[in-house]
């Protein structure tokens, strides 16, 4: 759910709720707010009611969801990472061969970057939503990874020691965030604590550095590479990169050529191509097109894009989308 119901902008702390007692309302609310479609709902033995609450700021929100009926559908997470656990009821996500059932009180991470199906019944759930860019930045600092998408292994169950640490941290974070509005510095600190706890608890993959970039003499080049990965979705150029790391355009060109065997412009294009590949792998071919993903990543000349893509990945982008 990318939308917390919060109208406020930026880093403003907000506490919001949406609730009601009509099934039609609930279906519209969850579809609209979860970027979902074709939700089906039904009543159960309980009197129907739903409630969705959210507290926090743009980087992290602590949420609760109650739905006293049955609901199933598919959702496409966008620009966020989510941990959730049931405090009542039952449910499962990623239905099919990789299905993950929720055990009461045991946190699970939502599948990342792909549309997935779910079913829940008479449930109460707590969720922690992290803004993708925020968690990726914390991962880069905490793990020395390149800023970029994190792939969580949602079917891997964390071990008991990790879960104990998660519980301790998230209980403390909840005390700070849910009780009353924390000071901005405290809010930033608990957001970071929770983000590190998520990274330490749930199995995931990030992108590491080329070993050549770890040499102290290549510190500037490493900065340039980090800058490119962190800003690949923006309209950056080689000149922007050079300026960001305080090198001349020619100096940057030489460093890329000598150490990485490429040019800054080609490197930017390669990083964007990786993002396209990752998105195509996870998107639904019935809903998305190669052209829209390519354009989103700055590839306006589609036949040239398809050629570069096929050369790098050995298949046509539409074949990746259909996989």
């Amino acid at each position: 759910m990318s939308d917390s119901g919060v109208v406020s902008e930026g880093d403003t702390y907000a506490k919001s709720e949406t609730s009601g007692k009509s099934m039609d309302q609930a279906r519209a609310m969850y579809e609209g707010a979860y970027n979902g479609d074709t939700f089906t709902t039904d009543t159960t033995d309980e009197a129907f009611a739903y409630r969705y609450t959210s507290t926090g700021n743009a980087d992290m929100t602590l949420r609760s969801s109650m739905f006293l009926g049955s609901i199933e559908g598919s959702i496409q997470p966008q620009d966020e990472y989510v941990v959730a656990w049931l405090t009542g009821g039952e449910g499962a996500m990623d239905l099919g061969p990789d299905e993950v059932a929720f055990d009461l009180g045991k946190p699970r991470v939502f599948p990342t970057g792909k549309r997935f199906t779910f079913e829940f019944s008479d449930y109460r759930q707590n969720l922690v939503h992290f803004r993708a860019e925020f968690l990726e930045k914390v991962a880069a600092e905490h793990e020395g990874a390149l800023p970029g998408p994190i792939h969580f292994e949602h079917s891997v169950t964390p071990d008991e020691d990790a879960l104990a640490r998660w519980k301790q941290t998230i209980t403390s974070v909840a005390k700070t965030v849910l009780g009353s509005e924390p000071a901005p510095l405290l809010q930033a600190e608990v957001n970071r604590l929770a983000a590190v706890a998520m990274l330490d608890t749930f199995a995931h993959r990030t992108t590491g550095f080329d070993p050549v970039l770890l040499a102290p003499r290549n510190a500037r080049l490493r900065e340039a590479v980090e800058y490119i990965h962190a800003n690949a979705r923006l309209p950056i150029s080689a000149a922007d990169v050079a300026k960001a790391v305080d090198l001349s355009p020619r100096g940057l060109q030489q460093a890329f050529s000598r150490q990485l065997g490429t040019t800054p412009t080609e490197y930017i294009r390669a990083v964007r191509l990786e993002h396209v590949y990752a998105e195509l792998l996870n998107l639904d071919p019935d809903v998305n097109t190669v052209a829209e993903v390519a354009r989103r990543w700055g590839f306006t000349h589609l036949s040239r894009f398809a050629g570069a893509y096929a050369e790098k990945y050995g298949e046509h982008p539409s074949d990746t989308l259909r996989r």
Binding site: S2, D3, S4, G5, V6, V7, S8, T12, Y13, A14, K15, S16, E17, T18, S19, G20, K21, S22, D24, Q25, A26, A28, M29, E31, G32, A33, A49, R51, T53, T55, L62, R63, S64, M66, W85, T87, G88, L104, G105, K106, P107, R124, N126, E160, L163, A164, W166, K167, I170, T171, A174, K175, L178, G179, S180, E181
Partner: protein, 130 residues
Amino acid sequence: MPRHPSQPHQLPAPAEGAGTMLTDDWADFYDAIPDDLVFECTADTRAGREGVCVFQNRVELDSPTSEHPSVLELEKITGWAIIPGDDGTAEVAVCGDQERRARIAAGFAGALTVALNEVLPEKQLTHLSD
């Protein structure tokens, strides 16, 4: 006075030996849902409360610029409309003796439309007069 006065809440201390199971329900940090509530979508920020509550006999609109909600009885409402914004929000306009407005996140406009159609059928306006 706020409609649902916020009360300071305390999370219970974890029970000894509770293990790794997470049992707190974060909804407990919010007030109970009123019996006559049909739909609520509100947000509290430092600037104030913003949003809309639909009850069985009235609609309440909150805006950060006003300390108290605007309360409109259903029988005096002549029409309503939801106007999509271009910043991820939508505005609900309710017309009675005068027009009142409130903002909500765009993702909740669909649910609010359903709720207002439940209590104010056939009063949805396709356009608003100036």
